[in-house]
């Protein structure tokens, strides 16, 4: 589904990704772990198409297409979804309007009929249950005045509505208490099917107790220095990233 080869990216002349290789197949859950500043979030943003990051080398193929050639909205319509680490507050834009507009773009792209306000509301109500949010939420401006936990739950709610093929969760666990973490993880698990894939970007192992990955990759200084199964996350939890940082310097 996704193949990343030798990906290099920089932001404002600072090289962050220095040769990332990663292959993700349908049905898999991958965790990307790493210390602060290792480039985890940059990788997520580059995959989503954020304009502040410049890809300087490498390639990314998604469903056989050149992902880097697509605008962010095209990626979304093709089924890529990033749950933001810091969801953006958009005053004056109603949540329901925003999400319906996005969903209809995605549906149009997939050759499906657009949903009118009534049908959308019925769908949204159903999906809200997944993250234990109430309907009033839809009438509020996008993320405005939401608590940290509400913002993260809103991301997973949007994911539930948009039904992506590839979901990238960028530190979705940060700032969540254990109850909210469980709700979010439970939502992700229920959305996961053999047809889609999830990339979980996280600093801590904690989230991986609830979203159990098939593969764990350790990203240090812009490179994946170790890949393994879920037990790698536990080893990291115990020993920290120090050993890997030394490996990265040697490499």
């Amino acid at each position: 589904m996704l193949e990343i080869k030798n990906l290099h990216a920089k932001v404002e002349d600072k090289e962050i990704l220095r040769g990332v290789d990663l292959r993700v197949n349908a049905g898999e859950i991958h965790a990307i772990m790493g210390p602060n500043g290792s480039g985890k979030s940059t990788l997520a943003q580059v995959l989503a198409g954020h304009g502040a990051y410049e890809v300087t080398a490498g390639e990314v193929t998604y469903e056989g297409k050149d992902l880097l050639d697509m605008a962010p909205e095209e990626r979304a319509r093709e089924g890529i979804f990033m749950a933001f680490q810091y969801p953006v507050e958009i005053p004056g834009v109603n949540s329901a309007y925003f999400l319906r507009a996005g969903l209809n773009e995605v549906r149009r792209h997939r050759g499906m009929e657009e949903l009118d306000a009534m049908d959308f509301l019925a769908l949204a109500k159903e999906k809200l249950k997944l993250v234990e949010m109430d309907e009033g939420f839809l009438r509020r401006p996008v993320n405005e005045g939401f608590s940290g936990g509400e913002k993260k739950r809103n991301e997973i709610f949007q994911m539930a509505v948009l039904e992506p093929r590839l979901a990238i969760l960028d530190e979705t666990d940060s700032g969540l208490d254990i109850d909210a973490l469980k709700i979010v993880a439970d939502g992700v698990n229920r959305l996961h099917t053999p047809d889609n894939a999830v990339i979980v970007v996280t600093h801590y192992q904690r989230l991986l107790n609830y979203i159990v990955p098939d593969y764990v990759h350790v990203l240090v200084k812009g490179r994946i220095v170790r890949s393994g199964g879920k037990e790698l996350a536990l080893a990291l939890e115990e020993k920290g990233y120090e050993g890997f940082e030394i490996e990265a310097v040697k490499a």
């Binding site: 989503a48 979804f81 958009i90 925003f98 773009e105």
Partner: protein, 455 residues
């Protein structure tokens, strides 16, 4: 300099001509005011960019044109059909139409008013019942330090007069439609309006300034509002004159104890536009809301000066002016809040003054400009006065967020621009007015977007 004097002279001699036409009415007390005003104008002359209040707005383009003063009612071939685009669809209202400042009986239509209420031509009231007007007219909008207000006052002739008697509630709004024409000579008009809401009354008045012709015109209007004790007044001013039009408008509201005034000024049209909006809070517990929205593109220049004077304690003022500037347009905002010396009355503990002002601006083009200047002068303790001004572009992170959910770039931009405008347009309480303005704003934004894409 010589040229400026000549330009001033044009208006001074126009005044002489105007006086000759008054046929004996020149002995009236009002005429003494006109004379004082023209004398003051002669002293002041037109402002230059050396004047503090006109630092960022040059009126030279106005003074250069040899405008002919409008001297009386001339329908200029206007028909109801030509005015249709300027009416508010679905709004039940009394409508007073003025052509170049003069009342048009055939284009106006009045609905039933509460007993004792008046809505009509100022000229007619000056002729039939000058006492109704005398206590208020030219008492509030200060012409002593404003050349354009002085000119308007010197040429007071016609405009709207609205009076709502004590305790009466005006159910339907009154729509004052000022039409500037540009069919032959370039015409200068000085519409003068007075709205008196007596104690405990309620009224909503909408002023529209429109121009159905493409061409140069100069409108120099003054509107005074007097809100008596506990009166509730809603006021809207919609400016959508032609691109070539010059528009200078002075609004001054005087508020008594416990009165509530909400005024909103929306500037979409005109080439060079200056609004002076002043409110005097002259009774305890009065509340004023001053809102504004300007959307400029091309080479439009829109200047809003507001002036809130807290004279008596325990008053509240809220001010939100938002601007969107595209093309090579320029926006100017100066928001003054002046708090007079005042002290608590025994037994009252709340803030003496509660004033919040905000002026966010959105630039859609790197050639557009904004100058914003809050100015607080406070001579009392125990007050809350806050202000905030911002000038920025669309939030790139917000655009990315919308795009990451499938919304296209141009659509994302339009959604964010509209959300910016909606915050202030949503404050319009008269639904047909809000709906129409939302439509007009969307149309203008759409035209701007096409121009950007083409250019």
């Amino acid at each position: 300099m010589q040229q400026t004097i000549d330009q001033k002279d044009r208006y001074l001699s126009a005044f002489e001509g105007f006086e000759r036409c008054l046929n004996g009415k020149s002995a009236s007390p009002l005429h003494a005011v006109r004379r004082a005003a023209i004398a003051r104008f002669a002293e002041l002359g037109f402002p230059t960019t050396r004047d503090e209040a006109w630092r960022t707005t040059s009126v030279a383009p106005i003074t250069k044109v040899a405008f002919k003063p409008a001297t009386g009612y001339d329908p200029q071939g206007l028909t109801a059909g030509r005015l249709a685009p300027f009416l508010f669809e679905g709004l039940a209202c009394s409508r007073l139409v003025f052509v170049n400042g003069y009342y048009s009986p055939e284009l106006s239509s009045l609905r039933a008013l509460p007993e004792g209420a008046q809505a009509g031509s100022l000229a007619a009231t000056l002729a039939s019942d000058p006492e109704a007007v005398a206590p208020h007219l030219a008492r509030h909008a200060r012409y002593q330090d404003h050349a354009f207000a002085a000119l308007n006052t010197a040429f007071i002739q016609d405009g709207a007069f609205v009076r709502i008697p004590k305790g009466a509630a005006l159910e339907d709004p009154i729509h004052l439609l000022f039409v500037s024409t540009a069919r032959g000579d370039a015409i200068a008009s000085h519409p003068r309006s007075l709205i008196v809401a007596e104690a405990g009354s309620r009224a909503t008045v909408i002023e529209s300034y429109v121009g159905p012709d493409q061409g140069v015109s100069f409108t120099n209007g003054v509107t005074e509002v007097v809100a008596g004790e506990n009166a509730v007044v809603g006021h809207y001013k919609v400016q959508r004159e032609a691109r070539e039009a010059f528009h200078v408008a002075t609004f001054h509201a005087h508020q008594g104890r416990g009165s509530k005034l909400s005024t909103q000024s929306i500037s979409l049209g005109g080439g060079l536009v200056r609004n002076d909006v002043a409110v005097t809070l002259d009774g305890e517990d009065a509340e004023a809301a001053l809102n504004g929205f300007y959307l400029a593109d091309g080479r439009q220049h829109v200047d809003n000066h507001t002036w809130i004077e807290h004279v008596q304690p325990y008053c509240t003022s809220r001010e939100l002016y938002k601007g969107i500037l595209d093309g090579e347009s320029k926006g100017v905002f100066r928001g003054r809040i002046f708090v007079h010396p005042m002290a608590h009355r025994a037994g009252r503990g709340q803030l003496l003054v509660d004033a919040i002002q905000s002026n966010p601006n959105l630039l859609l083009s790197d050639r557009a400009e904004v100058s914003t200047r809050p100015q607080l002068e406070i001579y009392a303790d125990d007050v809350r006065c806050t202000h905030g001004a911002t000038v920025g572009q669309l939030d790139e992170n917000a655009i990315f967020y919308l795009r990451s959910r499938g919304i296209g770039l141009e659509e994302a931009r339009q959604v964010l621009i509209k959300a910016f405008a909606d915050e202030v347009l949503n404050l319009i309480q008269v639904e047909p007015v809000r709906a129409q303005l939302e439509r007009l704003v969307s149309q203008k934004l759409e035209a701007g977007r096409r121009a950007r894409e083409a250019g």
